[in-house]
């Protein structure tokens, strides 16, 4: 017959039984495992935890972004250039890049001195004086030249200096008597 007292006595004996100490290597290994695992308490893993790997990923990401941005910029620039070159030539804007002793006749007939940055709309005439010059885009006008903006292009002509009047001597033709026929 077993009583509660019997099992309780056995339990109390079991509770006072000498037990071997834990193995030092087990204690050390468990402590290292516990304290090496900082997940429950630590802030997010610092980037410096694995520098080479993270730096590589960062480098790839950064350069990928730069590449994408450069591609977008290239596409935009190409589009803009294509639009500029593709547009009607009459819509291009010409400007006076530099000038000296230059007269500009605007399409409405008004005349202004040529100045840097002056817009040259369609039909404008640019005239350089005897000592003047002007630069319109890649075109340089020398002294005495006239350029007309036509269809977005420059039509250049040269002014011929006027010649002195030529005196032609009067020649008197002698009268010749009529000859008898026959």
């Amino acid at each position: 017959m077993t009583t509660r007292r019997d099992v309780r006595t056995l339990l109390e004996e079991a509770g006072t039984h000498d037990v071997p100490a834990p193995r030092p290597e087990f204690v050390a290994a468990l402590e290292a495992r516990l304290l090496g695992d900082t997940v429950p308490f630590a802030a997010p893993t610092p980037i410096t935890a694995a520098p080479s790997r993270i730096r590589t990923r960062s480098w790839i990401a950064r350069h990928a972004l730069v590449g994408i941005a450069a591609s977008i910029a290239a596409v935009v620039l190409a589009g803009a250039l294509a639009g500029w070159f593709g547009q009607d030539a009459t819509q291009r804007r010409l400007q006076l890049a530099a000038s000296h002793d230059t007269l500009v006749v605007l399409p409405d007939g008004s005349q202004v001195d040529g100045t840097k940055g002056l817009d040259l709309p369609e039909g404008t005439v640019v005239k350089t004086g005897p000592n003047g010059h002007a630069t319109i885009g890649p075109v340089d006008l020398g002294p005495g030249q006239v350029a007309t903006v036509t269809a977005g292009r420059l039509q250049i002509s040269v002014t011929v200096p006027s010649l002195p009047p030529v005196t032609v001597p009067t020649v008197t033709t002698p009268t010749v008597p009529a000859l008898p026929i026959g």
Partner: protein, 203 residues
């Protein structure tokens, strides 16, 4: 078992440090948990070993106990039971889980433990072998009890906790623990009798 040296329960550098303070520090300083670990690892290991009687199982339970405590340190209520009872409660739960997971034959477990005991004892200590065998058989019967009974019996009798501390670890009052223990002892006695283990009257 009987020839082994008593477990060193705590380290000198942690004895005078308040547990609640260490737990608070451990929330932001993992090294503080190291102090708690060194303070209690011997006790928890001894508790687990008294229940399992094998080094391997005791190590498994000890490791699982501290890993769970470490993960759930934020759940520790400094206003409630102390860190020790809280840790023992985790260990008691791990012991229940250990035997639930193990699922090995209890008769096999008892025979293996008895062989281990016979190897450890000399022939002139046969009484000790027999008594240890009775304890082992009783602990084997303990495995079959409902988890709450196992927890109550192990915390009260195998951990070295006082009745108040065991009640705190169980999360109940001392009278409730007393009632639980009474019922648990009755269940254990019936299980021992059912198995017809040779439990003798205590002297």
């Amino acid at each position: 078992m009987g020839q082994a040296e008593p477990v060193q329960l705590e380290t000198d550098d942690a004895v005078d440090v308040d547990d609640a303070e260490l737990v608070a520090r451990a929330q932001s300083d993992p090294s503080a948990f190291g102090a708690l670990y060194r303070k209690y690892v011997g006790r928890i290991y001894a508790f687990a070993h008294r229940r399992t009687w094998t080094r391997e199982a005791a190590e498994d339970v000890t490791a699982a106990t501290f890993e769970r405590a470490y993960r759930h340190l934020d759940r520790f209520d400094a206003e409630g039971a102390g860190f020790g009872p809280w840790l023992y409660r985790i260990a008691a739960n791990e012991l229940v889980d250990h035997y639930r997971r193990e699922g090995r034959s209890r008769s096999t477990r008892g025979q293996r433990a008895l062989r281990a005991l016979a190897d450890e004892h000399t022939h002139d200590d046969l009484d000790g072998v027999e008594r240890d065998g009775e304890i082992q058989q009783m602990l084997t019967a303990l495995d079959t009890l409902r988890p709450r009974y196992q927890q109550a019996l192990t915390l009260r009798y195998l951990s070295g906790l006082s009745a108040d501390e065991a009640a705190e670890a169980m999360g109940c009052t001392k009278p409730v623990l007393a009632v639980t223990l009474h019922r648990a002892l009755g269940a254990l006695r019936r299980e021992v009798e059912r198995r017809d283990f040779p439990v003798e009257e205590a002297s």
